[in-house]
Symmetry: C2
DNA sequence: TTGATATAGTTAGGTTCCCTAACTAATTAT
DNA sequence: ATAATTAGTTAGGGAACCTAACTATATCAA
């Protein structure tokens, strides 16, 4: 099989990856929230409350998280309070408004994702999750060497 | 199952998607080429030679392609010539230097992807391609309604 | 205990990739 | 012939990231 052929497994995988990256499964605008802001709100809603925690869950850098939280604070969706035990770190909490908008966003995401899950079926959905994780782990290990 | 639980299928899929988007399977720098430039070079190497064709294959807009090609032209990797049959459209061709760098980039990409294919095995690789395409098609249809 | 090192977070500035709006020039349809 | 369409371009901007350099606090080690 000629590697330059569009049908080689390598090419198909490269193409599938590129295409998939462009899928805007998370591009529903929820009010004034950008997708990255929604992701951070989800993290906080789940109970991760410091910049470091959010950074590790989302696998981005601290400045990225700081800046997203700055915007969320300006919009009145979160509040920072200094941790009494360790004054270097701050606890980020959702405001009432923040909770409302997060729940709203979450419902939209779940509805959308459920459409996909219905389309794929239970078995293929699980397969997909497993494979995506596996790919992620492979590249993570590759880069940390 | 509580939807807010990290273990709900919805949450796991949302998380898997976010993580996967961050995988930098295409972040090997090849000389002075950015990943987007590599993708365009691959298209041209495959024989797509107008802005419109590249745009449709990569599913971006014309200005995006134009600007990438501008940079590739500055770097001496491609050349534009006006199409005699339709003077609105231009044919983009690789220079000798362009061919060399494209082949080099392609070899790097294939080597990297083959690492993944080995890791997943033949069956799972095909499953992955199939599932990614399926997701892509689902969202494409969803958006065109 | 104090001085070095590590950790949490921030600010500033930059890169990449992508977009829309507004445009030119050429072609096709009425 | 003129209106509409198509191909491509330029200009400007936004989203999501990053690194470098910084402040402030905490911990470790001599």
């Amino acid at each position: 099989m000629d590697l330059w052929s569009e049908d080689s497994r390598e090419q198909r995988l490269i193409h599938a990856f590129s295409q998939f990256k462009k899928v805007d499964w998370n591009k529903h605008t929820v009010g004034d929230l950008k997708p990255s802001e929604v992701q951070v709100l989800f993290c906080i809603k789940k109970g991760y409350e410091t910049v470091s925690e959010v950074r590790d869950i989302l696998r981005v850098t601290s400045p990225t998280v700081t800046q997203i939280i700055n915007r969320l604070e300006e919009k009145g969706y979160v509040e920072r309070t200094v941790n009494k035990e360790d004054r270097r770190s701050s606890q980020v909490k959702l405001t009432d408004q923040g909770i409302a908008v997060t729940v709203k966003a979450f419902n939209m995401y779940v509805t959308s994702i459920n459409g996909l899950i219905d389309y794929l079926g239970e078995e293929e959905s699980e397969q997909l999750i497993g494979l995506l994780d596996k790919v992620f782990v492979y590249y993570k290990d590759l880069n940390s060497r």
